[in-house]
Symmetry: C2
Subunit: 163 residues, 2 copies
Amino acid sequence: MAKNKQLEDLFLDTLKDIYYAEKRILKGLRKLSGGAQSDELRDAFESHRDETQTHIERLERIFEMLERAARGKTCDAILGILEEGDEILEEFEGSDALDAGLVASAQAVEHYEMARYGSLRTWALELGMTEAADLLGQTLEEEKKADALLTELAEKNANRKAA
Amino acid sequence: MAKNKQLEDLFLDTLKDIYYAEKRILKGLRKLSGGAQSDELRDAFESHRDETQTHIERLERIFEMLERAARGKTCDAILGILEEGDEILEEFEGSDALDAGLVASAQAVEHYEMARYGSLRTWALELGMTEAADLLGQTLEEEKKADALLTELAEKNANRKAA
């Protein structure tokens, strides 16, 4: 069981990392949404904010399963990713390319989450935490869908401009 | 053409971001590779380092097409992501969960690149830069493959331990 103990540490560590990240993302999405020029993009950000709230609650259930207090751990990665989103908001304010930049920022966020939830789900299975793996898998699928929707919006936007 | 000028700025900005990131990743992969416990994982990191060198050269060709000097721009996102990889290396040194953590770190890197190359490719097409779009698409596919290989290694590792 020593091996599993070490993997459990890694799992808990990463759980704290993504818990912190999700809470930051909740605020970040509000900023992105406030900056969006098209209604469609604003709606996409808003509905993903609701999903993010659910993702946070799922993480809290997993902390409970582990009998641990839900606590975040500073996640430098998400801070850097969101910082780049802020730069786009500032540098491209009033620009016709702003929405394209905001979509890209949000996709960088989604991809970070996909990476983390993918790893967490694999480890939960390895640790025999089937219910946690199921919750993590649900969130993973929602992040993938959110990313695919953003790609769709980006391509639609590009085609509209080319027309 | 004013609209395209703005998108061109965003494209160039993001090109500089990923150019900086790739150069950092080259160093980061050396560290991950040095820390890897299994030969299989070390080989995966090494062969992705060679690919990364090619990705850098492709970016330099695109800078040439734009008649711009190849120059990076500090990318806070990749610095944060690599910083988390360093923490894993320190915290899990000698632990049986180290390789699992290193795979996760590398997948966070891959996902960041996928997000950026996906956006860049869409914008290159929108800007009518077909050759650049093609180069970016090739790199995007290689990043996806590298990520899929890491998922495979993570699952194999998990199954081996469960057996």
